[in-house]
């Protein structure tokens, strides 16, 4: 999914880095604030980071005959809000750029913007907009959309850099054909995996999720609420 090293013209690479940097700085500060306000949620923060680490390492086959990675950023976006995922996603992308030659340092800004900014915000927006839907539906939609939005953004970034003879729209549909169509079944799988993980977390970490505002009082399972809900 990541744009390979050196595959964005220098001007585009610099522009995406400039766009992504404030999100990463804000996200890093947000992690500090979250840990200070909710020290009991450190384990969940580890779970959100680990989930992204696992999912972005797994290349899955798709119905188009290509393979791609899920992103796993929707989980952290729903639990901790999207800014935190800008920082966690950057760590994952930096690890892959330095040790796996997957993505790259020159394309890190563009990849951060697609996977760690747009994806989490798209997923979180879906989670909030579906406030009246069943909780599992909200999680599924948030996680699948975070995944899919990442790849639509990647296709957009490449089409802007390489419009070719067909222009932006032609290039965009070509890159969407490569990325987004392949990603649809993988996004559905990611949404389903997310439903399972969140089901486990609701059972084992209901007070923490409630304190973070992810679960309302009616959504917990037999655990007493500990703090006021803030963004459920």
């Amino acid at each position: 999914m990541h744009i390979a090293e050196g595959f964005l013209p220098p001007l585009h690479a610099a522009a995406w880095t400039a766009v992504a940097t404030p999100f990463v700085i804000h996200g890093t500060r947000e992690i500090g604030r979250t840990i200070k306000a909710h020290p009991e949620a450190k384990l969940l923060l580890g779970a959100a980071g680990a989930f992204t680490f696992v999912l972005s390492a797994i290349k899955l086959p798709s119905v188009t005959g290509s393979s791609s990675h899920p992103t796993g950023t929707g989980l952290g976006a729903v639990i901790f809000r999207p800014p935190v995922m800008a920082a966690l996603g950057t760590i994952v992308l930096l690890f892959q750029a330095l040790l796996l030659a997957h993505g790259g340092l020159t394309t890190l800004g563009a990849n951060v913007f697609s996977m760690a900014v747009v994806g989490p915000w798209a997923g979180y927006a879906a989670f909030r907009l579906l406030a009246k839907a069943p909780f599992s539906v909200r999680i599924f939609t948030a996680m699948a959309l975070a995944d899919l939005a990442t790849y639509v953004t990647t296709a957009t970034q490449l089409a802007l850099a390489f419009p070719g003879q067909t222009g932006f729209v032609g290039a965009w549909s070509a890159f969407l054909g490569i990325f987004a169509i392949t990603q649809i079944p993988l996004a559905i799988i990611e949404g389903l995996v997310g439903v399972l993980i969140v089901k486990a977390l609701r059972t084992w970490a209901a007070p923490e999720l409630e304190a973070l505002g992810v679960l309302g009082r009616s959504q917990t399972r037999g655990e007493a609420p500990t703090e006021k809900v803030s963004h459920a």
Binding site: S62, S68, A97, G104, L105, Y151, F162, W204
Partner: protein
């Protein structure tokens, strides 16, 4: 058993989607030996075809020496993440068990305590 039916259904759907991707993906593969090529590789191939003059202006600082080494490193990343995720889920589960035990003990103590004398 009934409360696990939903979970089993989700697991079954994931397996079915995998199977469907494998079957349909093999049919749609562009050519022999090229099944399930990564979308990032497909994108770079498309760029090289549509912009013949373009060549990457920066090389990775480190590149795995072979596909096997690359797969191993990806597996290592997945193992690190999976290990941490398993540790977190296990710890949360134990924490919940201890919480429930402490709550039960407190409730039991409260029930066993003699009633306060009326003044």
């Amino acid at each position: 058993m009934r409360k696990h039916l939903g979970t089993l259904g989700v697991v079954a759907a994931i397996i079915a989607l995998f199977a469907l991707a494998m079957i349909l993906g093999t049919r749609h593969a562009p050519g022999e030996g090229e099944a399930f090529v990564g979308t990032d590789s497909a994108a770079t191939t498309h760029i090289e075809a549509s912009q013949p003059g373009y060549s990457p202006w920066f090389k990775p600082l480190f590149a795995p020496s072979s596909g096997e080494v690359e797969s191993g490193l990806f597996a290592l990343q997945a193992a690190l993440g999976g290990g941490l995720l398993g540790f977190v889920l296990g710890t949360l589960r134990e924490r919940r068990r201890h919480r429930a035990a402490a709550d039960a003990a407190a409730a039991s103590d409260a029930a066993a305590a003699p009633p306060e004398p009326r003044s």
